[in-house]
Amino acid sequence: MTGERRAAETLTEDQCLDLLVTVPVGRVAFTDRALPAIQPVNFVMDGTDVVLRTGRGSKLAIAMRRAVVAFEAGAFDPVTHAGWTVTVLGEARTVTDPAELARLAALPLRVWAGGSRDHYIRISGRYISGRRLWEAAA
């Protein structure tokens, strides 16, 4: 029974949403050829949904068609390991409706990687959970 102590605090959904808008990069987990995969992505929140942009035909775009995916974002102090993490679990879908695409294009979603990234993916924020973590025990 080493290291047992109160090390984490569960965050409310509102707290999670407030934190998600403070970071530009998250990570999306999906299945790629039957193996677990994870990829960093730039994202923006649209209400409780996570919106990503990727290249059409990309591994991510293919894998996330109507799949349930996990999205995580967070920040940690590299020395104390104190920080926070938020996970959004929900169905991913490709946005095809022109009106919705036009609206998403106006969101402040800045993609660092170049290339054509005109493929929008929305992850419905069905389950949003987060934790604030205090300094990690050695």
């Binding site: 080493t2 047992e4 102590r5 679990l89």
Partner: protein, 148 residues
């Protein structure tokens, strides 16, 4: 520009300036940060969880509470483990992903050896489980500054 879904091509690499990193660089980067994310399946759903980690040779070792979802889910499963670092002002960054089998170390000798790695744990639960991920696929990518 929206592209109708029926025109989507099949697999092709991500476009843009994502530069693949070779395995030697990935191994160096694995020594550069203390926290990564483990991807596993829990109740048929994908999960991502940040974890502190250390290296034991080429293996990634994490320490989590014994009764945690991670400890239960990753026993003899194939998992992905990811590390990254990003710099917002320059819009640069990198990520490394390890895919491999995870197994829980059970022998007292193995656990004693892993304790010497100085692994930290957020430990919001009793007990310790040491999980070893043996890399079978190691890959990484870098995003360079693309601003004009």
């Amino acid at each position: 520009m929206a592209v109708p879904s029926h025109l989507e091509p099949s697999f092709e690499p991500d476009p843009g300036a994502l530069e693949p990193l070779d395995e030697a660089v990935c191994r160096v980067l694995l020594k550069s940060v203390p926290i990564g994310r483990i991807v596993f399946t829990h109740q048929a759903l994908p999960r991502i969880q940040p974890v502190s980690y250390a290296l034991d040779g080429d293996d990634v070792v994490i320490r989590v509470p014994a009764a945690s979802k991670v400890a239960q889910a990753v026993q003899d499963a194939v998992v992905a483990f990811e590390i990254d670092d990003f710099d917002e002002p320059s819009r640069t960054g990198w990520s490394v992903v390890v895919v491999g089998h995870a197994r829980r170390e059970d022998s007292p000798a193995a656990i004693a050896a892993l304790r010497r790695l100085g692994l930290r744990s957020w430990g919001d639960g009793p007990g310790d489980a040491f999980i070893r991920i043996v890399p079978e696929i190691l890959s990484g990518r870098r995003v360079r500054d693309l601003r004009p």
